[in-house]
Structures are given as structure tokens and as C-alpha cells.
Amino acid sequence: MTVVQTVLVFVGIPAGIIALLFLAVYGRSLVRQPNRYRPGRPWTFGPSWYVPHPEAVLRPTSGPATTTAVGGASGEW
């Protein structure tokens, strides 16, 4: 065997097997990320506002309602 063949057999094949195992384990999460938020990364999505289903609400509001903020809490991470 030449040097090139030796290197291919003893380095190339193990590296190939390791790469295959890596892809089998982490491949799916590399392609599609179930959780796209990472702290510190910029947030590129537009604002969205989610409210419950109307039938779950005791008093469905009709028309534009207004109120004033009374209390609450804040936090940073």
C-alpha cells in the first residue's frame, strides 16, 4: 500500500464512519430547528399577539375595549 492508500484506509474510513454517526444523531436538528430562539441572537420576526379562543372567555368583548394598566411585573434575562 502506498502512503495515500494507508491514510485513506486508516483515517478516511474512521472519519467517514464518525461523520455518518454524527449525521444520524444530530442531522435532523441541524436541518430543522424546533426552537428557533437563542438568547442573544437578534429577533427577526414581526410582532404577534395571541389571545384565547372566544368561547373560553367569560365575557366576550364587543367592539374596541379600553382599560388602564394597574399592576404587573417586569423582568430581563
Binding site: 438568547p39 429577533w43 414581526g46 389571545v51 382599560t67
Partner: protein, 139 residues
């Protein structure tokens, strides 16, 4: 009841006033379903109207969150989160503040911060909704 909720599709998820919808939102369908279930269950259980805002705040952030809240009604609770600015605000109104003292809101905010710092946005929102619903009790 749980079966009925599980069958709901995310297309039925309601969007609040001023909530814009991107072609591709920040959450996967499975995450939206979790959020929808938590929102609906906690609102049904407590009789308060919980809503979740995810997006940038215009500075000052607290004033922006309160301005958003003013479009809701007296028995509403707003959980507003800006992942880019790493800020969250919980806002209560005249009626909901009687059920949810600031102490309960601060505790929920603390739990939400822990999840958000780990990158689990939906997990934090669901935890916050559950804690607030537990604090408020049933109607």
C-alpha cells in the same frame, strides 16, 4: 375536554388587536398548539382573559406594554415578551389586579425568565400562564 383541545388546529389560533402575522411566524405548529392550549385553559379556568404578545417594544418598554394592554378589557392579563431585547412585562388591569397581586406576577415573571434564559420561549410562556392561572384561582 382534553380531546377537544388536542384536535384543534393552529389555524384557529386567534390573533389579538394589532397583532400582525408574518408569512412564517416565530413558532412551529406544535409550539403554537401548546401556547393555544395553555392560553385557552388558563382563561377558561380563571375567567380572566390572558393574552400573549411576542415582539419588539418601542422604548420605554413598560409604557409600550401598557399601551398594548389598554386595547384589552378590565379582566385581561397581558404577557408581553420581547426576545430581541430580552425583556418581559406582565400587565394587569383593574379587575385582574384584584385576583393577581403584583407579588404573584413577579413570581411568574421569575419562572418565565429562567425558561427564556435557556432559550425555551414557548416553555416559559406556558409556565407563566399556568402559574398566573394557579395564583388567580378558579372563577
Amino acid at each position: 375536554m382534553s380531546g377537544e383541545l388536542a384536535m384543534r388546529t393552529t389555524a384557529e389560533l386567534q390573533y389579538g388587536p394589532g397583532g400582525q402575522r408574518d408569512a412564517e411566524g416565530p413558532f412551529t405548529p406544535a409550539q403554537l398548539a401548546r401556547l393555544d392550549e395553555a392560553l385557552t385553559l388558563s382563561s377558561r379556568e380563571t375567567g380572566l382573559t390572558f393574552s400573549v404578545y411576542v415582539g419588539e417594544f418601542v422604548a420605554p418598554a413598560r409604557a409600550h406594554a401598557e399601551a398594548l394592554f389598554e386595547q384589552l378589557d378590565d379582566s385581561s392579563v397581558l404577557l408581553a415578551v420581547s426576545p430581541g431585547q430580552r425583556v418581559l412585562h406582565i400587565v394587569t388591569g383593574p379587575e385582574s389586579a384584584q385576583r393577581l397581586p403584583n407579588r404573584a406576577c413577579a413570581l411568574a415573571a421569575l419562572a418565565m425568565r429562567a425558561s427564556f434564559a435557556n432559550g425555551d420561549l414557548v416553555g416559559g410562556l406556558v409556565t407563566g400562564l399556568r402559574m398566573l392561572a394557579d395564583s388567580a384561582g378558579s372563577r
